[in-house]
Symmetry: C2
Subunit: 335 residues, 2 copies
Amino acid sequence: MTPKIAWTLRAIAAAAVLGSSMAAVAQSDEPVSPVPAPKAVNPAAVELGKKLFFDPRLSKSGFISCNSCHNLSMGGSDNLKTSIGHNWQRGPINSPTVLNSRMNLAQFWDGRAKDLKEQAGGPIANPGEMAFTHELAVETLRSIPGYVEEFKQVFNTDQLSIDEVTTAIAAFEETLVTPNSRFDQWLDGDKTALTRDELTGYQLFKESGCVACHNGPNFGGNSFQKMGLVQPYKTANTAQGRMDVTGKDIDRFNFKVPTLRNVELTYPYFHDGEAETLTQAVDVMGRLQLGREFSTDENARIVAFLKTLTGQQPQFTLPILPPSSDKTPKPRPFD
Amino acid sequence: MTPKIAWTLRAIAAAAVLGSSMAAVAQSDEPVSPVPAPKAVNPAAVELGKKLFFDPRLSKSGFISCNSCHNLSMGGSDNLKTSIGHNWQRGPINSPTVLNSRMNLAQFWDGRAKDLKEQAGGPIANPGEMAFTHELAVETLRSIPGYVEEFKQVFNTDQLSIDEVTTAIAAFEETLVTPNSRFDQWLDGDKTALTRDELTGYQLFKESGCVACHNGPNFGGNSFQKMGLVQPYKTANTAQGRMDVTGKDIDRFNFKVPTLRNVELTYPYFHDGEAETLTQAVDVMGRLQLGREFSTDENARIVAFLKTLTGQQPQFTLPILPPSSDKTPKPRPFD
């Protein structure tokens, strides 16, 4: 299915839900589609970006890297309610998975970054996360001969800047897709790939309206939706969602719909990380977003289906980072 | 060279230094030897141990893994003066590299663990490091079906215990050796592997007595020696070294001699991490341990030689961790 058709089907699906006639969505043309292959990329930029993704020298402390909160051993997330930042600060929001994030319409829960490149610069300079500055990050990288050489090879420049840094990180992240989940095998025609329970879970997922928001190749990530549509969502978390970006009251509690791909790995759930299990998350979503109380059996089937969305995790060799030089600014974890 | 001969040569070298006749050490039978191949191991235990090494669920916070302070992207160390522990506690001592640590006579700076297996249990239960307990670590692992299955395959047990956990981590660490440094190539007969400066640096390293402590296949790691032999070492760090283990005043400031393999990657130096560069470390060692002030040129040659000790870093695929189950105890980073 082409992305264009998928988008059209998503629109149909959304419209169908609004009209309470989800059954109209054709079984043979699902409102979701397999993970597409990553875009053609520059392999050298990917390798450089991989190093940067794992390099804690992009943080003030020298202890926190991109991989600290988007841990590629753990579904591209940190499996914490909200993340731990510089000086053990309690982060304001649950770390979204980096896996398949290239398919999102924007980055961060509130969509304040338009793409992966823009996102990559955020945590480095966020005082509650890596607590560095772009200037210091660049000064650090420029002091490391191995990086200077590699940036020169990849970008043909002697004066690496934050632009090349975030371009390389984004190039690596573009490759972080998870193909070949059992569900995608089923979509691709292997009718034995799912059990009966999983398949009925998927039917329920569609018919009850989950698919209205969680659709397309990433099972979400392509719209902002209000958290607490039928019933209000109660949380002590202060994030306002999209309103923090637009300033408009109507956008209050509008969050980017998270992907459901690899959702078995990306617990806990919701922007505040307050749903500890998939069972809880499905229950809350049913009641608050759809006005529907799933029975224990229905919930279990949906959860069984969701677990079929775990794809092949990115397989790569742990990068070896080039050593600092005597001129490299020293980490300052306790300043 | 067999390990036995190497040991004998080390003894000769040490005796020679004491007698101020280092020149007696034959050039063709060096007081050091190439990194030996890792012991024959159980590949399944290694794979399991690799997962555990990267798993932050062995910490109370769910944020700190073995790899946090023994980062295999960064020479098996954290490149911080002293490590960051649970709740951003400032650790008491510089994190020693895990690379080639199998060759050490004991583990930790003060040698309080007799081997890698005993060491592996330490940080998990240290309130200043991972701040967990062995009981909770085991309870956590037992709640994760993927681990239960893998422990069963590796150890043929349904009741995994901390004993299997540390055995597996140690099995992985046994493989973390760094062969084929340029220096080892030279030792193995490739006389073009070192430059003239590097070679004269090595001669100086031997003749001035550095090799008295930094010898054998690991260039150290095989004895405890007093820090501040000729002149006292001044530091605000409160570690007492071997005395903390034996309780004997004579062992005060006796530390395990650190390996010099990959020393280019394992900055900063000394048990307190107070030497930021190799130049500084060589200068302090010369004055305090040998009563010798190296000239700028001598220092540079020794540093050039030390940088030839960087071996091939372990190459492996980043492990993918099995997901927690609904029963897995939740991380408690802020309790």
